[in-house]
């Protein structure tokens, strides 16, 4: 390598206000003009961003002990079911959780107007949250029923912990069927009436470090408008997915588990969403700084929408039936242009992830670092990458009474 820079060196430049920071969008022209080596000499950090729906998100809350004490059995926050199968007053509230009274898809397509993501947004906004819970009662936790309300600043901990965020690439969804379908990829009109995608492309964190050479456990990030950390690789992490020569995956690949203190986040970047006919979820703002350690890392950060390809998948049959296969690859440059060509047909496109939001996050992170109070971190361990030999497993399906036949 012609350029060699350590995280320590970058941090001392950040603290002395001398670090050069550009967003993943701004760096593209610089590398095209000057080349990766020269750009790596001049730039210390590249900031990324993404603001898309991320279903595998949620919060751990410790609600404090009432008098007398209770061991929460069934717990509801603003009527939305929270998981209480941990210690007495700890609960986990997931983004897709619903109130038991939600009519779901009984009248299809259901509205899913208020779910876990909305409760989290209201909590972060400082609104009063209603708690209703029951329990069986024990000698040490005698209370069997409680109805109360609380605000975020009145509880002990609120820790955003999301098992899967920031997907590296995603499917482009179309509907080959004859009727409109309602999916987690939005409303899909029949006969390929539209194609929906969900990635910030060239601004997205894991497209700028495709082989996870800098992002690892403990990496400090922008999360929900506050500071967060990479906790682990995400669930369904599939780093060994097919990649091109630049290391860019041609479909959903790496994922991240993210965590951070909810109390310093903002409702603007944690938005409850209602997907017609599918369910409730949450739009999460994530931004990751990439330390420019050398020209190789700089080369990855120069990734452009035209280089990144995503598979077009039929959500009427191929996806729900897990049949595999796709209708071809399209670039994010095409997707963002407003239409793509699929099997000779021009199909209008729409995004579920907000590119304007991703831009704002990358710019905010750039500002935080420029101001000197957000420094970069050395990962405590690396995450499994393309060479890990991971393959995604389907769910085993068999007669549970017979098992798989082995002892």
């Amino acid at each position: 390598m012609k350029v060699n820079r350590s995280i320590e060196e970058i941090n001392s430049k950040i603290k002395s206000g001398k670090a050069v920071i550009l967003t993943a969008e701004e760096i593209i022209g610089v590398v095209e003009e000057k080349g990766a080596v020269k750009a790596a000499e001049e730039v210390d950090v590249v900031t990324t961003g993404t603001f898309g729906p991320m279903c595998s998100s949620g919060v751990f809350l410790n609600l404090g002990h009432p008098q007398p004490r209770i061991k929460l059995g069934e717990a509801y926050l603003n009527d939305v079911a929270a998981y209480a199968g941990i210690a007495a007053v700890d609960v986990y509230l997931g983004a897709t959780a619903l109130p038991p009274t939600d009519p779901t898809n009984l009248k299809h397509p259901g509205d899913f107007i208020y779910g876990g993501g909305h409760v989290i947004e209201d909590l972060v906004a400082g609104k009063e949250i209603r708690l209703e819970a029951t329990s069986y009662g024990t000698d040490c936790y005698p209370l069997k029923k409680i109805e109360t309300s609380f605000r975020l600043d009145e509880i002990n901990e609120a820790i955003l912990y999301s098992p899967r965020n920031a997907y590296q690439n995603y499917n482009v969804a179309v509907n080959l069927g004859e009727k409109t379908i309602y999916t987690y990829m939005g409303i899909l009109k029949p006969k390929m009436g539209n194609a929906n995608y969900s990635s910030a492309g060239q601004l997205s964190p894991l497209f700028n470090d495709p082989l996870l050479k800098t992002i690892g456990m403990g990496t400090r990030i922008f999360l929900g408008g506050g500071v967060g950390y990479v906790a682990w690789h995400g669930t369904q992490h599939n780093p060994s997915a097919k990649r091109d020569q630049k290391g860019l995956p041609e479909g959903p690949a790496a994922t991240l588990a993210l965590t951070g203190d909810l109390k310093q986040m903002e409702p603007r970047w944690l938005r409850g969403l209602s997907y017609l006919g599918y369910g409730a979820t949450m739009q999460v703002g994530v931004g990751i700084p990439i330390p420019i350690l050398n020209e190789e890392i700089m080369g990855y950060c120069a990734v452009r929408d035209e280089d990144i390809k995503a598979p077009v998948i039929d959500y009427e049959r191929a996806y729900p039936q897990r049949e595999g296969g796709n209708l071809g690859l399209v670039s994010y440059a095409d997707l963002k242009s407003g239409s793509i060509s699929v099997q000779g047909k021009k199909v209008p496109t729409a995004s579920l992830s907000s590119y304007a939001g991703a831009r704002e996050i990358a710019a905010a992170l750039k500002e935080w670092i420029s101001e000197g109070h957000f420094t970069l971190t050395e990962p405590s361990i690396k995450l499994p990458s393309a060479d890990a030999g991971i393959s995604l497993k389907p769910m085993p399906q068999r007669d549970p009474d017979k098992g798989d036949g082995t002892l």
Partner: protein
């Protein structure tokens, strides 16, 4: 010549009157009906574009008022809450008239009220529920 998009609200007692016939026959207006519905309370709602001479249009409006019909401006029926919009763009492929469109290279959603035909598809297509309608329209949903 005048061209105007309006919403007519019919109270139950005149919902069965041939109002459109009179607009055409007596006032020489061209009528383009965008949407019409009647709720369980038998109140009617008609969204349409009227065009004709200025004088005829004004006479027609007076006549409609005399009949007890309420005339509303069509452009204020659907509200885009820019404070709630996350600018994802999911609505832009659902809106049939491109009233909701995606501006490039800003990559932001824009709502052109004058193109809206109050189909209301955006109300449920927006994941962030940033599209709203007036309370008095709720009974027509």
């Amino acid at each position: 010549m005048i061209k105007q998009k309006i919403v007519l609200r019919f109270p139950p007692h005149i919902v069965e009157q041939p109002t459109i016939y009179h607009l055409i026959k007596d006032f020489d207006l061209m009528v383009n009906i965008l949407r019409a519905d009647i709720n369980p309370k038998k109140e009617g709602r008609l969204m349409m574009e009227l065009s004709g001479s200025e004088a005829n249009y004004q006479r027609a409006v007076e006549w409609l008022n005399e009949q007890g019909l309420q005339i509303l401006n069509l452009e204020q029926q659907i509200i885009w809450r820019s404070d709630l919009c996350t600018h994802c763009g999911a609505c832009t492929v659902i809106c049939p008239t491109e009233a909701l469109m995606f501006e490039r290279p800003e990559m932001k959603v824009r709502f052109a009220e004058e193109k809206c035909i109050i189909c209301e598809l955006c109300l449920r297509a927006c994941p962030a529920r940033a599209m709203e309608t007036l309370v008095e329209n709720a009974s027509f949903q």
